[in-house]
Symmetry: C2
Subunit: 334 residues, 2 copies
DNA sequence: GAAAAGTGTGGAACCGGTTTCCGACACGCC
DNA sequence: GGCGTGTCGGAAACCGGTTCCACACTTTTC
């Protein structure tokens, strides 16, 4: 592989001039610039990123930390981030959050502070105080996707509103016996927006004077989780709710599959609403609260680069858009 | 942030000694080593990765190139790679394969040759000759997950065998009218193992003297894809096959959902078999050919690091394990 | 007891870029 | 003609590590 010295020699100039010609910074005559570019092209020269980073202090890389990569939300966000970074000629360093405490500590104490990236996007994780301090110490701007503390630039939908609006939709249709499929954040890792969705559910019931009807059925935020919980909940004819709010579309879809197996028709006998607008929601005609995690990823990149350029810019909390999408899984109760 | 010079000064030794003490290479007295380590700990010193890379020529990073991240197979492989690299203290640089030719070219000509990583794992992509040349020129070992040409170290299941075994399972149960849900590689991007699965299907039929019964129904390798294709195929009572092979579990699951909506009972009226053992296969009691993409990712890392250590080691083609898992979606025809 | 081998350390070169500093030159202006 | 300003290019320092080499001292070997 050729170095900038090779390019300079071939173009008959010094390293300094070659560097200026290629980067476009500083005075270089048009004639010289052309010669250097020709030489670079002839040698298929590509700058060595480590050398560039060392000299400039910039890595042209963004670190992404997420607990999982194999759930819809995370995969979508990652996809958006990836696409946006590529367009900006940035590289993407991916880090998982290891399950065990020791590995997790190693991530924060050793792997992240190596200054391999110019900024970090944290997706759906809640660093504790010590970890935040490590991040801060790394002197790299941080943008978070998903609910986060106020001291961090972040982007997320209003999960509480999502839970509330979903529930209100059912109340407006006339439902009074509405169950919620999901669990609070501590039960299942990496889904701590779920707490707020539950809060929204409770809030909507309270506003309608239905507080005492609140029924939260423990379910993992996955399709099998929703399936199992719904099978349990709906198995007994007596005491069936007339409507279900899924903590996310995966759970809601699992519930829909359970209804088919149990011979319950949706929406005539049971209304189901989800949150997310998962890629499979349309196939199941699932009414849901739409959010666009891919776009949140793109926005996170935009916000992060903004902060990399202007480290002193005030931090902001962006509320990502979400909207009720009515399909055929909800209707007035019989 | 402190540098190794700070550590050296604090420990009262030279940079050279400090470096040796921390890396463990070369002679350092136990006493000195301890002093250097104490100094490093006191200063929370972490080596600057760009400086280390520049000096050693090693980046401690592996590049991963995959077309998508939001499909089960890819997410699983990525997960495995991620986990294995973390355990080895390697970083992971993720690259998507952009859709448009121009971006794709930029990826190969500019982003990959920056020498940001010591090796590359390509998942489910088929670089053309020019692109392979770029990779080769980067002087970095390459390991591929998924079907690949013989000149590359790779790991994949035997897709042809998977297609054959799935079909044979149905034939042994007594089926003679077996449709295949899927499409050849050119129709849908990033699933070129599918061709070989179709070959296996044809092969099994041929061995049983059923060649003329081959019926391949075009379907995207996704749940909605399988659903739509199955709905179309099964909508008309006449001409229904007695069994279906799904090119992957997503498609097979889509088909199962279609059967429920159409009131067809599985497996009494229709047998369905998939390939992959997707995380949802169990919930649908789907008979399938199991493969473990996460382990393939782990193995790919092992193979790549082996090649990084020993660049001249002979390249190999590893056939990942796969096995028939019989659940309740297949049975003898009526 | 001298030569050889082993151990411990520091100085300096090196990896491959970028950037500062400085000198040379051209030009316009007073 | 002298001077300031703008343009162009090179030498050298620098980023933060690693490693080669020289040297001193200690221990082993014959």
């Amino acid at each position: 592989m050729s170095t900038i010295a090779d390019v300079a020699a071939r173009a008959g100039v010094s390293k300094a001039t070659a560097s200026r010609a290629l980067s476009g910074r500083g005075y270089v005559s048009e004639d010289t610039r052309q010669r250097v570019e020709d030489a670079a092209a002839a040698l298929a020269y590509v700058a060595h990123s480590s050398a560039t980073s060392l000299a400039t202090g910039r890595t042209q890389t963004v670190g992404v930390v997420m607990p999982l990569v194999d759930r819809w939300f995370f995969a979508e966000v990652l996809s958006g981030i990836q696409q946006a970074l590529f367009a900006l000629d940035y590289d993407l360093a991916l880090y998982g959050i290891p399950g065990d405490a020791l590995s997790r500590e190693r991530l924060f104490t050793t792997m992240l502070p190596r200054r391999r990236f110019d900024g970090i996007i944290a997706v759906g994780i809640q660093p504790d105080a010590v970890e935040l301090e490590h991040l801060r110490r790394a002197q790299r701007p941080l943008v978070s996707v998903g609910p986060f503390s106020d001291s961090v630039t972040s982007i997320a939908i209003d999960d509480r509103a999502a839970g509330r609006i979903a529930t209100e939709h059912l109340i407006e249709l006339g439902h009074t016996d509405i169950a919620f499929l999901g669990a609070s954040g501590t039960a299942y890792p990496h889904s701590f927006g779920d707490d707020r969705r539950i809060d929204g559910y409770r809030e909507a019931l309270a506003s309608a004077g239905l507080s005492s009807a609140a029924r939260i059925v423990d379910a993992a935020p996955t399709m099998p989780g929703g399936y199992a919980a719904a099978a349990e909940l709906l198995g007994d004819r007596r005491g069936r709710p007339s409507a279900i709010v899924g903590v996310c579309d995966e759970a809601a879809i699992g519930a829909m599959i359970a209804t088919r197996r149990l011979g319950i028709t949706v929406p005539t006998e049971l209304s189901i609403i989800g949150i997310d607008d998962h890629q499979h929601a349309e196939m199941f005609s699932l009414t849901t609260i739409r959010q666009a995690p891919r776009e949140q990823g793109v926005d996170a990149v935009r916000m992060l680069l903004e902060r990399i350029e202007h480290p002193d810019a005030p931090l902001g909390q962006v509320v990502a858009s979400s909207a009720l999408v009515v399909r055929a899984s909800t209707a007035a109760p019989r």
